[in-house]
Symmetry: C2
Subunit: 158 residues, 2 copies
DNA sequence: GTCATTTACTTGGCATGCCAAGTAGATGGA
DNA sequence: TCCATCTACTTGGCATGCCAAGTAAATGAC
């Protein structure tokens, strides 16, 4: 699923950086969290997160989207999406249709089966998220998360 | 590199969960952070994070480790490590040697080249981490991160 | 001592992803 | 109108990962 990575674990030969424990905790907890989310989504309807993302966006968009928009929405390269849709078509989750307005473009369409699976998955998954994130943190925690993430974001290049 | 995933972005059809913004901020910032770390490691010496992890652990362990221990240390499946080492041998970063104490076991050994690359990478990478994480957060932020991650950890199944 | 288990890897097969290159249709300017 | 460019995808090739199955060696129970 995902690894914490020792990219930094043993880097402090010289000075034991004071921020290292917090950084490692962040990586580790995030890894555990996302692993669980991945497993949860997979458990409910057999979807990978990538497939779930595609179906979620299609469903929210009314059932169909242009591939470019879709790739952009789920942060996936065009080639990655192309191959993902190939596999999802085999699974009967989506279909491709030519765009009547632009012959270069292709529309991805969610199937009845795909819609049923994603809606079921979404219901259960949301409940799971509530349980392992929402119920655990209080308002102060949430505010702190927002503040810290904002500071990190602001400090990041670009 | 990595995607935030819409796994939860659009899940709140009914109630807009109050924790959603914090959760999304956590995912997004973590994704940006790890993408940058990946790029940084790659830029310095051409290593992927997986390769860097292997070399780091080997170097710290004095140059050689049993494959099982190594796989465990970097949180990688045995088959994943086996294939990773195949590729790293081709690149001249590591070598395999039979374990004199147990014919089932294999030792991974870092090469001179591997050692040079990982040490150079480590120096630069640590400085980068200091810059985008250590310099940005103050002691209160770090304490908050630790507290929140601990709460989440405690609430996670298992 | 012998055989069922366990342990340690390797391989084959599949899922994901990315980049580079190729194909085809759409567009803008001369 | 015609061609250089763009835009939208698809393909081929490679890197990572995981699981299931296969091979070999070490261990443990009798």
């Amino acid at each position: 699923m995902s690894s914490v990575g020792a990219s930094v674990v043993d880097v402090n030969e010289d000075e034991s950086a004071r921020w290292m424990p917090a950084f490692l905790a962040l990586l580790r907890t995030h890894a555990r969290l996302t692993d669980l989310l991945e497993l949860d989504v997979r458990r409910i309807g057999g979807l990978s997160v990538a497939r779930f993302d595609v179906l979620t966006h299609l469903d929210m968009a009314g059932g169909r989207m242009g591939l470019s928009d879709l790739a952009n929405a789920i942060v996936l390269s065009p080639s990655g999406l192309s191959k993902l849709l190939d596999r999802m078509e085999v699974s009967g989750l989506v279909e491709r249709q030519p765009d009547p307005d632009d012959a270069r473009s292709t529309l991805a369409t969610i199937t009845r089966h795909g819609r049923a699976v994603v809606r079921k998955t979404r219901r259960h998954h949301h409940a799971f998220l509530q349980q392992i994130f929402g119920d655990v943190l209080d308002d102060r925690d949430l505010a702190d998360v927002m503040r810290i993430m904002a500071r990190l974001d602001a400090g990041l290049p670009h």
